[in-house]
């Protein structure tokens, strides 16, 4: 096996046995980037220069991860390296500070190979809404990688980075992980600091992991989780070691499968794959039962109201005054605002700002935003009710596999429907993990998600790990079909 095909825990084992060196690891990834990036287009900024010097700089760091590579989604602020959010608005923006997760990553001596492509400001499910480029799905270069963390998912799946950070507001880690056949975890809201994550929807955004397997997820989560006094929505939760959850054992685990997730919008092959997953869990000793999440059908509408409302306010600061894009075409203050924002934002971002502005307007607030918050409470309650009976909830991650580039770009509603399985988890603030569970007849990956109780990442990691250990789907390799 090539070095770039290994997981991080496999790299660590080989390093331990002195079979490889950190220099070889970095070189392997750098040459993989130079080989595959022209096809995959996963990076906005590549930082694989001076690797020897960078390795030298962390030589005194005692962490076992010091010198290992990682990729970072381009909405996480990195001091001294551009953070563009895939937007013309921030095309040349360099943050003067590191996000809290970057401080943690840097403290371990991990070396970032670059900033990864995404939908502009994380708005989208295909990474087609990037101002810079369209990232390709490594399994089939004509398909989307999913989004918004499409660059992160594609880079991990194609072996250009061993693991990556992404962010998930409505499915932005789990859906691309599903489309690219890798593992993606959205932690419980509040487990990982949002300080330095450029906000899309503050009450939903959460930084998470994209990895080749579940073990790497546990390892990376150990690095990034933890209370941060700079983010008051981060929870002061006792620090856990998620690798302790890596046990091949689901005997007696109670799994609920909500019938609402198998409605008519769900692709037949996806449905069949999930049914096989259910059989597998039963075979491994878990009890699997149908359950109900009545309000799930309202979750998508609720999500788009809350997310757009918050986005309309969060993106106000991109006004052309202090940093970012400023139109050259202005005669007065109003022009600066209007033209900078009209020219600097892409159409999807503008659509959501307009929608969000509308739902917060006086006279409409009660009918939309307030109502959405009420439904949000109901969604939380209904999950809580199910968690009285079940340890985890199992559902498809996406209603379909990766679709053709360009096929949904002109139909926003169709695009929004891709989020139908993932958004309820964000609305309720729960942890969710995508696990690959096969390929469809076109050879495109299918994934399922496990949803856990708040801060019970350990149980979904154990369930995901057990499934992975007892199946072979992780061994499938992308073919870069043209």
């Amino acid at each position: 096996m090539e070095i770039y095909e290994l997981t991080v825990h496999e790299l660590l084992e080989k390093l331990d046995k002195k079979e490889i060196t950190k220099k070889q690891i970095l070189d392997s990834y750098a040459s993989r980037i130079s080989e595959k990036e022209k096809d995959v287009q996963a990076f906005i900024t590549i930082t694989d220069d001076n690797l020897e010097e960078k390795l030298n700089n962390v030589s005194s760091n005692p962490s076992k991860f010091a010198g290992l590579p990682i990729g970072i989604k381009d909405n996480i602020c990195t001091k001294g390296v551009k953070t563009t959010c895939a937007s013309k608005m921030l095309e040349n923006f360099v943050s003067p500070y590191d996000a809290t997760v970057m401080e943690k990553i840097n403290a371990e001596g991990l070396i970032s190979l670059g900033k990864l492509n995404m939908d502009e400001f994380a708005m989208g499910g295909s990474t087609e809404h990037s101002y810079f480029k369209k990232t390709r799905n490594p399994w089939n270069l004509n398909k989307v990688p999913g989004g918004s963390s499409g660059g992160s998912a594609a880079a991990v799946a194609s072996g250009m980075v061993p693991w990556a950070l992404g962010s998930d507001t409505g499915g932005s880690i789990r859906e691309p992980a599903s489309f690219c056949g890798i593992v993606g975890l959205k932690p419980t809201y509040g487990l990982v600091s949002r300080y330095g994550l450029v906000a899309f929807a503050s009450s939903l955004d959460q930084i998470g992991t994209l990895t080749k397997d579940v073990e790497d997820t546990a390892i990376l989560l150990n690095i990034i989780a933890g209370h941060d006094s700079k983010d008051t929505t981060s929870i002061n939760h006792e620090k856990e070691d998620y690798t302790l959850a890596l046990k091949d054992d689901v005997k007696g685990l109670k799994i609920g499968v909500p019938i609402e997730y198998f409605g008519e919008g769900i692709d037949k092959e996806v449905r069949e794959a999930i049914n096989k997953v259910i059989e597998k869990y039963k075979e491994l000793g878990a009890t699997v039962e149908e359950c109900s999440l009545n309000v799930a059908e309202y979750a998508l509408a609720t999500y788009y109201i809350i997310a757009c409302a918050e986005a309309s306010s969060n993106l106000g600061r991109f006004d052309g005054i202090r940093y970012g894009y400023r139109s050259k075409n202005y005669e007065n203050l109003k022009d600066i605002y209007k033209n900078s924002r009209s020219e600097g934002f892409g159409s999807e971002v503008k659509r959501r700002i307009i929608l969000g502005t509308y739902v917060l307007s006086s006279g409409y607030y009660d009918a939309y935003y307030k109502k959405a918050q009420q439904v949000r409470t109901l969604v939380k309650k209904e999950f809580a009710k199910n968690f009285e009976k079940y340890d985890v909830i199992l559902a498809p991650t996406a209603p379909n596999v990766a679709f053709d580039i360009g096929s949904k770009i002109d139909n926003p509603l169709q695009m929004y429907l891709s989020d139908i399985c993932t958004v309820p988890v964000n609305i309720a603030g729960l942890p969710g993990i995508n696990v690959p569970c096969g390929l469809n007849n076109e050879g495109m990956p299918i994934g399922f998600q496990l949803i856990g109780k708040p801060f019970d990442e350990s149980t979904i990691i154990r369930a995901a790990y057990t499934y992975e250990k007892n199946t072979n789907f992780r061994k499938n390799k992308p073919e870069f079909k043209k």
Partner: protein
């Protein structure tokens, strides 16, 4: 008079900068001044990805203000975003409070200017962040943004429309200022903009139950301009109504130079601020215990201090009221009395000469350059007869110019009182020799003649002669004649 047919209705929104050391959502200093954009960080500059963290002191100070103004404290409060675009507002929203302010339903008692006490209700007090500042001048047509002030904590104190005259408005603001100074949550420096008010004015025909249309004058930052502005608006609105017109609801800017208001925006331009709860900040939950603990830190407020002064220092009602209106003067009074006794004299010096000089120099009490050490020494020197009150007044002028120990000033200026009997006698005899008419007058029963002679002697001695001794000696000498 036309005005007699109308009733004036006024409400004030007072903004006070809190004197916390750091800003409301980051750890930048709140200090006034400083080179532009030196008191700011990624958070108060609203760089992408930054998050606010609420300064707990701000909550404490606001609760303190609420308790001092007899408010109910909201135990489940929250922060909301007020969205609008302006270059001095870096996030394009101000973090404020919308429907759950920290304090509500308060009241304070003011003097109505006609000798009666009047209760003004407080609708609410909420916390919010200040905006930055635009520098429009000196930059060749452009404007530059200074974010030093962005994120400085404010409380907004909103009154009910209970105020009925410009005098009441002034007294209300003075009372609010005095309370905030007493509880030490704001330095209330109006000239630096740390205390400013939006003034809502409307008029209605006497007897009408419906309120007239109001106008709002923004950012008024002196008592003088508030009074002038209100008087101007009352006249303007009555003129409009008497001419058969309608008062337009609009936001105005008072211009102190031209003495008139200008329209900033009318109702049509009214902004929709799209308030919603800030998802970056957790709700504010206050326990009964917390509120009790803040209550315990409340110092003695003007009202109770006034009552104590009547009893403890035997001051008159008027003296006690004037002294306690300013925490600074009141503290100076108590500290000085503790060092030299004689409360009546200390009170007189503060309320007459010191207040006069402050008035003349347009200074606030906290700008007095000396403290109770100097003032108590000055009064002790008079009590001991070392200097006369006339000299003491001169020493006080010196203290304002160049504060140092009064004994040192007297020594340097050679102002020690002449209390030597021989020297006094010399002066008395000389004056008597020069004023035979006065001696006759005195003997003829005109007491005023004695005053004249003493005055002449004081003049001759450049104020240094001991007036009591002069008095005594003139009588003695004239009785001998």
């Amino acid at each position: 008079m036309l005005r007699d047919n109308y009733e004036v209705v006024i409400g004030l929104e007072v903004h006070a900068e809190l004197s916390t050391k750091t800003k409301i959502f980051c750890s930048c200093p709140t200090e006034f001044g400083g080179e532009p954009n030196t008191h700011c960080c990624p958070i108060c500059m609203a760089l992408p990805g930054t998050l606010p963290v609420l300064n707990e002191k701000v909550v404490e100070y606001a609760v303190k203000a609420g308790l001092a103004m007899n408010c109910e404290i909201e135990k489940n409060s929250k922060n909301d975003r007020k969205n609008y675009f302006y270059p001095d507002l870096p996030k394009a929203y101000q973090i404020s409070q919308y429907d759950r302010p920290l304090c509500k339903c308060g009241k304070i008692t003011i003097d109505d200017g006609l000798g009666e006490q009047k209760v003004i209700r407080i609708t609410r007090i909420h916390i919010e962040e200040d905006a930055g500042k635009l520098n429009h001048d000196d930059f060749g047509g452009g404007s530059l943004v200074d974010l030093n002030r962005a994120g400085v904590p404010l409380i907004e104190i909103v009154s009910e429309p209970d105020i009925r005259s410009s005098k009441e408005a002034e007294n209300y603001l003075r009372k609010v200022k005095s309370i905030l100074e007493y509880i030490e949550v704001s330095d209330c420096k109006m000239q630096e903009g740390s205390l400013r008010a939006d003034v809502n004015v409307s008029v209605r025909k006497k007897g009408d139950t419906k309120l007239g249309t109001r106008t709002e004058m923004k950012n008024m930052n002196s008592f003088h301009s508030i009074v002038r502005g209100i008087e101007y608006e009352i006249d303007r609105q009555i003129d409009v109504l008497e001419a058969g017109g309608k008062v337009e609801q609009e936001t105005l800017r008072w211009d102190d130079v031209s003495g008139r208001t200008f329209s900033m925006r009318d109702k049509e331009d009214a902004q929709d601020y799209r308030y919603f709860p800030d998802p970056d900040l957790v709700a504010i939950h206050l326990s009964d215990e917390y509120i009790e603990n803040v209550k315990k830190t409340l110092p003695e407020l003007p009202e109770s201090r006034k009552v104590r002064y009547l009893d403890e220092y035997k001051l008159t009602e008027r003296e006690a009221k004037l002294l306690t209106a300013s925490k600074y003067l009141s503290d100076l009074f108590e500290q000085t009395v503790s060092k030299c006794g004689n409360p009546k004299a200390v009170c007189n010096w503060i309320l007459s000469d010191i207040s006069r000089i402050l008035n003349e120099e347009e200074k606030e009490p906290n700008e007095i350059p000396f403290n109770s050490d100097e003032l108590s020494e000055l009064i002790t020197l008079i009590d001991k007869g070392t200097i006369s009150s006339a000299i003491a007044k001169k020493v006080l002028e010196e203290l304002f110019k160049d504060p140092k120990a009064p004994s040192k000033i007297i020594e340097e200026k050679g102002w020690v009182q002449i209390s030597d009997e021989g020297a006094i006698k010399e002066i008395v005899l000389e004056i008597l020799a020069n004023n035979p008419q006065s001696i006759q007058d005195y003997k003829g029963g005109k007491d005023r003649a004695l005053g004249f002679l003493v005055g002449q002697a004081m003049k001759q001695s450049k104020g240094k002669a001991n007036p009591q001794m002069l008095n005594k000696m003139f009588i003695e000498e004239m009785n001998k004649m």
